[in-house]
Amino acid sequence: MTYQGSIQPPKIWSFLESCYNRVMPDVFVSEPQEKVPAPTSISPIESQNSLGSFRLYPEDIDFETKQKEEKVIIFMRAHPITNIKWILVTILLIFVPVVAKSFGILSSLPAGFELIINLAWYLIIATYALESFLGWYSNVYFITNLRVIDVDFYSLIYKQVSDANIDKIQDVTYNTGGVARALFNYGNVFIQTAAEVSEFDFLAVPNPAKVAKIIEDLITKGKQK
């Protein structure tokens, strides 16, 4: 017990406290908690932002098949830089009607048709951008204390959720080839398992080395138990 401030407790109190501690044994002493080292530096990619690509111990994340005792250790999706392709394509497509107008391509159409064709074009671009964003947003990977989980949404309304227990993992490999991947530190993590789904591919995820290391640590810890 510590006291702060200028008023000191009487000495008799500390004497009584020491007597109490000697006579009364502790009813319950919690086991020392195993602490997992916190990341030394948190980059924007690793932030707790809901659009982040790499989140350690996220508190506010939930998924359909999550069990009560399950704790998410890592949440991942493809690195944000992988969105650059569809963003650039979208920006280029936005200027197509302007270029078409400058060349007079639609000028021969009756009044009103040009406007509707332009609006329809922008609608198609909006759909393309929305679908690309949803594809990036919804294809996610979880590593929990019990399992690895891969959530994929294909085409429009088809989803696939694959998982494998940590003790079923046989091998973890990763690669980070290429200039962009080396520069932004992202790559693929491949997990071989003895589960129904024999391989999990975590594609273009940030910090692949760290991911592989954490999975290996979980496997080692599972074997020790």
Binding site: P110, I116, L119, Y122, L123, L130, V140, K159
Partner: protein, 73 residues
């Protein structure tokens, strides 16, 4: 611009075709809304409200284009 085929204006045919395509596109936008609902019911990642709103804005834009085509053409 009064090109007639069998007494029917070609622009009327094009207008009907555009309306049919935009109508089908409206159905597609509803499927996108369904897709977003599927995503948000499967995953709770803290960005559910904005993507749901994006889906509805997209649908509203499609409705706007359809109505514009119906009125202007």
């Amino acid at each position: 611009m009064n090109s007639l085929i069998l007494g029917i204006s070609i622009w009327l045919v094009i207008k009907i075709a555009i309306l049919i395509i935009l109508g089908m596109y409206l159905m597609f936008c509803l499927v996108v809304i369904r897709q977003i609902k599927l995503i948000t019911s499967t995953l709770s990642l803290g960005f559910e409200a904005p993507i749901t709103m994006l889906g509805y804005i997209h649908l509203a834009f499609a409705v706007l284009v359809f109505l514009a085509a119906l009125i202007i053409l």
